[in-house]
Subunit: 190 residues, 4 copies
């Protein structure tokens, strides 16, 4: 196993344990043993457990933001772009339910307090999303509300719907996803 592999294994094992059992249920000893790594090895790669968690968060966030804008149809009508972003978000979350659970735990914990919460949909990559909302607002395609509200109107239901699915309280199929994203558009459009 190479050095990079160990780092990856540790991050993966931490992700899995925290996603399933919460921060309380992920002692470093268990993270290490699930990663097939010595207890001290964690500290070769991360200064502390907290830093490990922060790092994990940052990596997952980057991946999610990349997924959101992958295949972004920058030339199509604005509405199509919204729909694309919404569907991408749902599909990506469903594809990596562990990541999703981890991010949710992180945001709702003192760890996440340091991070501006809106960063789940804000950061470098997401300029594209802010831009999208701004442009749509200028063209008077969407309602005249603060951008933060509009983003929550569009992404909030998707977040909840994904959570229900991931926790097993509901099941999403493709047509339902499509119609849900359409409904989110209805929430913000004029």
């Amino acid at each position: 196993m190479t050095t990079t592999d160990k780092r990856r294994e540790i991050l993966h094992s931490a992700l899995k344990l925290i996603a399933l059992n919460g921060f309380q249920g992920a002692p470093t000893a268990l993270i290490a043993s699930r990663a097939n790594v010595g207890a001290g090895t964690i500290y070769c790669y991360f200064e502390s457990k907290d830093v490990l968690i922060q790092t994990l968060y940052e990596e997952l966030e980057i991946r999610m933001l990349a997924a959101l804008t992958k295949g972004y149809p920058g030339t199509q009508p604005l509405r199509e772009r919204f729909i694309h972003v919404g569907k991408s978000f749902v599909r990506y979350c469903l594809a990596v339910p562990m990541d999703f659970r981890f991010l949710e735990q992180f945001h709702n914990s003192p760890h996440g307090a340091a991070y501006r919460r809106d960063r789940i949909l804000g950061g470098k990559d997401q300029d594209i999303i802010h831009e999208l909302f701004e442009k749509a607002q200028k063209e008077q395609l969407i309602k005249d509300l603060p951008k933060m509200i509009l983003m929550n109107l569009f992404f909030g239901p998707l977040l909840c719907v994904v959570r229900d699915h991931v926790l097993g309280f509901a099941t999403l199929d493709e047509p339902t996803i499509d119609r849900t994203v359409d409904a989110c558009w209805d929430a913000i459009r004029r």
Copy 2:
């Protein structure tokens, strides 16, 4: 201090600590001392810390559901009823931000896993809400989607918007609340 007072003090002190510092930041010794109560006293009222937390959750949930349907305009048009419930939800959360933080932490933790998540908007009192969605669906006022989706379309953005406000990332004023709830209605109506 009467027996009932002690119980209340313990619950209140636990709520405050958990809301502000998370589960990790609320050791029983601190909960007890903030409640002006001996460390062992907690165990006169609750079998364990977990039971204390569960109990706290249940009490807060009951209060919130009661708030949701208080003054429910059962005779007015369905749309008005939705608007009422939406606004009540936002106003109540803003009125008791600690409760809101606690509930969020609870839902996104292994504690909450035991609880069916939909219970935040489901339980005894909330029959009224399920009923509302069912009736609106029958009258073809709202979209033909699973009830769970519809509920998330309506409440999801409100949840997010309140969270942003409580965490200090945004500020809500009355007109904005009204227009946001209206937008939520747009998401579900035909």
Copy 3:
């Protein structure tokens, strides 16, 4: 065992282990078990291991200073007073060899760096000793050297002699002690 007893037992067990094995050889778990006390109990009485050690130091220092001036012949000639203090110092150290070893370890460690080293012969009680040197200097009974030097001339050999005895490299009997203290007087007198 009363509360005070536990505190005393912990301090005693720490003293013994550190005196014999050094700071490295005195893990908290061992201190606790030798004191017939749970591992966590130490933290009921002391904030941290460091605080335990500081406290132990302060208590031993107080006892030693008290011993130095016990039976102080304040009315006899100054020479007699020096001889009394010198002998008291040696006898007390020989009576409590553990205390002596602990104090030596403490002074020669980063712990002791915080403490002004001269405090082994300086503090509240020892005003009597500083006074003694000052008075003898005014009366031109002893040499015209900085007080710190004079104190080291008088106590330095005693310290070394006691150390040799305690470590088993030499054996002190009463007449030898007396003659050694006399020789220390010779070092400072005019």
Copy 4:
């Protein structure tokens, strides 16, 4: 860097760290990195950390004893020889305060317990010193006390005075050194 250089660098870096921070504050990893050497390299030269420390002690001791007898005035009166040795001791310690701090730490630690303590003034080279005391005793120049006591009477104050200087509690100038060594002679002479 040659093999010998590496060995020297390791010893030097260990000396510095231990002198300043104590044994606790000198982890092997830090010793290695300060010596610009890999963590494992220490074990090419020393069997264990303990052996490294023992070796360091022995080297410093040899150097100090050599300094003590350098320029030894073997043909002058005995008193001059004592004065020479005393001043050489003080001057050498002041010249290499790190060495002095290390030796003090070593002597007052379980490491030093293995070593006969008197070896600070006893060993191969120091035969010259033992000889000096014995000759002076035979000629009835100095008091009739055990040699160990006499050595402590002479060197004890110097040790303490140097310690105070090195720790910054006092400042020694040349005339004070001279007069202090004279006073030490007063302590042992008849």
